[in-house]
Symmetry: C2
Subunit: 234 residues, 2 copies
DNA sequence: GCCGAAAGAATGTGATCACAAATACCGTGC
DNA sequence: GCACGGTATTTGTGATCACATTCTTTCGGC
């Protein structure tokens, strides 16, 4: 049983607030893996399995799992075993409805957050464009895994600039539920069939047009979720 | 230090699906307490404190706290201590925006869920009316605690009939964040100053008018959140 | 050959201990 | 009187053990 090499560094990366406690490290890595679609729906997880996989003891794995269950990213079987959440037609409808209700809002907030400062807006557009270029590259390469990761990177790079932690938390919970399916769908349909509204969103950002931005986000969601709905659900 | 008297009984109380494991019991009681506003914002919680208070060991308390932190109901200080989430003007705006985006949706889904069956609709109206009557009683009595509890009971009795677990989870997360403040505000303003749109919502339900129902929910949220915004934030 | 029961492994959950960090408390010094 | 410093307590976190339940595998019977 690996002893986990307790990372002690005071962590000078972000602000300064939090040291990377083990169970948060596990949670974050697992969270990213789920949003990026690296874990297929229905995939069974176990406390001890995760613990050995991450080289930690059972406790941090338990806490990470508990958090992800609370966020509806993981599901409990009637016997309390844990798996990556399954999808259902009803859930697709709900998630689509919720995403369309929330993501345009947070996108508009992001625009407003950088609206005062033209320099900040330029920075945001530059960052998003870079991600979108990589995204296009992943599409022509047919790299489904990179596509899933970059697509979420694009959206959350936009959403995070809104500095709206409550809304962001809700949206993250939704992405944690669609992530595994997006990945499965992309794997089946291939990347070439994918269309997104990222170019339109970028244009709206440059123009400072909130209405157009919200519309682009809305369409992007509708198209993405339509693919999920169209795919056969295991 | 109470030794927790390990409850061993196989527990055949509820339906049949899930045995009420200790940590879920703790979570549920804590969750209800927060939504009902029984814990004031900023109130410090500790693993061992909760454990002794509920007569259990530290482990179930830890898991319950972890879940509520994931739902943004509890907050972590920079030193990883736990408290009931604080409010801020920005958070009020976010929560208001999210509630208005989501709760009318789930209310309309509830109406649609009972729409086919006039008998079911009647049952729902009857149940909600009963709660609302108690609510009115609590208002004239000036019973702030009962008011908070019954107000959340009213909304969630409506929302739960929508059978939309994803949306419900999002809304619950939001209520977990407003609960403590609603209670504080009611305690300051008194119950007599309160206005809600429950009567209008019931009328819309009876008439099967989704548009009117959504409008009533929207107004109810706006009025409630306006009170919170108006109150001084400690 | 297939179904079912029994044995073995794996898993979730609760309890408890150890340790470091943070907080609270208290007394001393100025 | 008040600020400072040191001690004692509280607290979060990780680790490990015990136990009941569940899943898996295997073997025997028909």
């Amino acid at each position: 049983m690996a002893k986990a090499e307790a990372v002690k560094k005071p962590q000078g990366k972000a602000g300064a607030a939090r040291a990377p406690v083990v169970h948060e490290e596990v949670f974050e890595r697992l969270r990213r893996a789920i949003i990026a679609g690296q874990l297929e729906p229905g995939r069974a997880l176990s406390v001890r399995g995760l613990a050995t996989q991450f080289g930690v003891s059972a406790m941090p794995a338990r806490e990470a799992i508990r958090r992800l269950v609370a966020l509806n990213a993981l599901e409990l079987t009637p016997t309390r075993r844990v798996m990556v959440a399954q999808m259902s037609p009803g859930k697709i409808d709900e998630i689509t409805e919720a995403r369309i209700a929330l993501e345009p809002l947070i996108a508009a907030r992001a625009l407003k957050a950088v609206g005062d400062d033209p320099c900040a807006r330029e920075d945001l557009v530059t960052k998003l464009s870079a991600i979108d270029d990589e995204l296009d590259e992943a599409i022509v390469q047919g790299d489904a895994e990179s596509y899933s990761r970059l697509n979420s990177d694009f959206h959350f790079a936009l959403y995070e600039t809104a500095r709206a932690p409550v809304l962001l938390g809700l949206v993250e919970s939704l992405w944690l539920q669609v992530g595994p399916f997006m990945r499965v769908v992309v794997g089946r349909l291939g990347t070439t069939a994918l269309v997104d509204q990222h170019k339109e969103a970028l244009e709206a950002l440059r123009a400072g047009d909130a209405r157009k931005l919200k519309s682009a986000v809305r369409l992007d969601i509708l198209e993405g979720m339509k693919n999920i709905r169209g795919a056969r659900l295991s």
